[in-house]
Amino acid sequence: MLKVTEATVRFGGLTALDSVSLSVDAGEVLGVIGPNGAGKTTLFNVICGFVRPNSGTIEMDGRRLARIRPHQLAGLGVARTLQGVGLWPGLTVLENVMVGLRHQARAGLVSALLGLPRSDRSEVDLRASALEAMERLGITDVAGRPATSLPYGIQKRVSLARALAGSPRLLLLDEPASGLSSAEMTEMGEIITGLAQDMAVMLVEHHMDLVMSVCHRITVLDFGRVIAAGSPAEVRDNPSVTAAYLGNAVDAPGASA
């Protein structure tokens, strides 16, 4: 579904992404891991159009996404959650999720200004779809609360509900488990596994337990380069991954690749 081919991004003299290639298909969870500064978030930003690659291509369903702008993603069926939560504090939980559905809204400016029935009906439909998405994540009981007044774990669910509301085909999750308790993390893992039934999921995450348990394939970045790719087991046993995370063993020369 999504195919990134040899994407390279340079910020001045720093090469944030160096010829990175990867792909993800429906029904699959692709993990992207790597130490801090490896280029994971930059990779997401390239896919979302916040950063333009200096070279390389991004394709969605075989169509090249040149000069994509972030606001066009929703229409293409791509949703992304942000590091942290990125909820709008001045909106209720329900409103947050309803904005996530906005490309389904049919009412134009004039019918909104005049309060025409068309606008009302559209709002009623949006509300119903939003509540449906919220029910899937068990947050309907906080629908009327301001989004950022809630416990962090719930806010994470709200931001996920917002991303899911528009029924995306590709979901980009940027550290969905950061700040969660271990029980919440287990639940998040189950949610992600469930989501992969209907869509392609790309997951950037630091918590290895979660990554290893939910991902079908993993791509490891270090200093902007792909240093390993494969199944969780392959990646775990790859010595260069261990080296990137922990450094080379000092007192056992020759032990690492």
Binding site: A74, L87, V99, R102, L113
Partner: protein, 366 residues
């Protein structure tokens, strides 16, 4: 069932409130003096401009120190069309809003690239610079001395002896009602939600499919159109448009009214408009009452004005409308909370407390 659903439609709710208030105010104008009716028109012009700025700043997060300039655009349009072309009043008012909206479009396109203090600076330049144009084009715009504006003659079926100021009050009340109903519809729709989403987090907004720049330009256009209509009524009320009427002080007064009334609420715009007309007069007459020498008393009135503004903001950080809501909630919880229901009020309170903007002026039309 049917009637309950009918009443829940935003348009119906907004219209009902608006019609009731318009009828009451129309009746009230009959017992007020001609001067009071003139003041109503003045208040109306501020209410409309303040409501527009409240949408821009309170809901969309863009500051404007230049709304006096948009008022000027509307006012001059009215002066040119009403007096020299003798077009129907409704058309003149609509076109005044449209020309101001066009000015807002141009400004908004630039503003979408600017944030915070830079936007404040750019709009400030607009407020200072635009009135100067009238001096550049003295032959059409009248230069320093400005253009006269004929008060709109009352429609003929009211009779020849109908007080023009009372008629003007009617026209301006109607304009306030129409503007507030339209704005209330807009802020309760998905557009209002998008405005607030852009205000709170632009990155998240764009990822949800909102064109951030387009959304900000739209807010600027709507807001400027309101200021233009406000300016048109201002011109009709004062009977003259000149650059001295649209200085930076006016722009800042509108922003003051927006904040004091309650940022992002339409009901707050009404408080703001009333305050902008009555507070300076009140502080002036109070300081004159002390029988001090002229220099002291004229400065004292400014001082009093400032003190009131500071006290209001200290007492009601969310503006007067925030205070009204607070009082309403306090009353409700006092009368509704029996021994058993205290828990449920406690649970409901936080949701209400921190959403003065979220539930917005949407519900309240006036």
């Amino acid at each position: 069932m049917l009637s309950a659903g009918f009443l829940r439609r935003p348009l119906v709710r907004h219209l009902v409130i608006a019609v009731v208030l318009v009828v009451v105010l129309f009746l009230v104008t009959g017992i007020l003096s001609s001067y009071n009716n003139f003041q109503i028109a003045l208040i109306a012009s501020y209410v409309i401009a303040v409501a527009g700025l409240s949408l821009l700043t309170g809901l969309n997060g863009q500051i404007s120190l230049g709304h006096g300039a948009f008022m000027a655009v509307g006012a001059y349009t009215t002066a040119l069309l009403e007096t020299h072309q003798h077009w129907p009043l409704a058309l003149v008012l609509a076109l005044s809003a449209v020309t101001a909206a066009a000015a807002g479009l141009v400004t908004g396109l630039g503003a979408a690239r600017l944030r915070g203090p830079y936007l404040a600076g750019a709009t400030l330049a607009l407020a200072v610079g635009l009135p100067e144009l009238t001096i550049k084009f003295t032959s059409t715009l009248g230069g320093e001395s400005g253009l006269p504006v004929n008060p709109p003659p009352p429609v003929s079926f009211l009779g020849a002896s109908f007080d023009p100021n009372r008629y003007l009050a009617w026209v301006s009340i109607l304009c306030v009602a129409v503007t507030l109903v339209l704005l209330a519809n807009l802020v309760t729709s998905r557009f209002g939600r998008d405005f607030r989403a852009v205000r709170d987090d632009e990155i998240a907004a764009s990822l949800s499919g909102i064109r951030v720049a387009g959304n900000q330009v739209l807010a600027f256009v709507v807001s400027a159109a309101c200021a233009g209509l406000g300016g048109a009524i201002y011109a009709l009320a004062t009977g003259i448009v000149n650059p001295a009427g649209f200085t930076l002080v006016l722009s800042i007064a509108i922003l003051t009214g927006t904040v004091i009334g309650g940022l992002g609420t339409l009901a707050g715009a009404v408080w703001g408009g009333i305050l902008l007309v009555y507070l300076p007069r009140w502080s002036e007459s109070l300081s004159n009452g002390f029988k001090l020498n002229k220099v002291v008393s004229s400065n004292l009135s400014l001082g009093l004005y400032g003190v009131v503004l500071i006290v209001v903001i200290l007492a009601f950080p969310a503006g007067l409308q925030g205070g009204v809501r607070q009082a309403g909630r306090a009353l409700r919880s006092r009368f509704m909370s029996g021994p058993g229901s205290s828990g449920s009020t406690g649970a409901a309170a936080p949701a209400g407390v921190s959403t003065p903007v979220a539930s917005g002026g949407g519900g309240e039309t006036s």
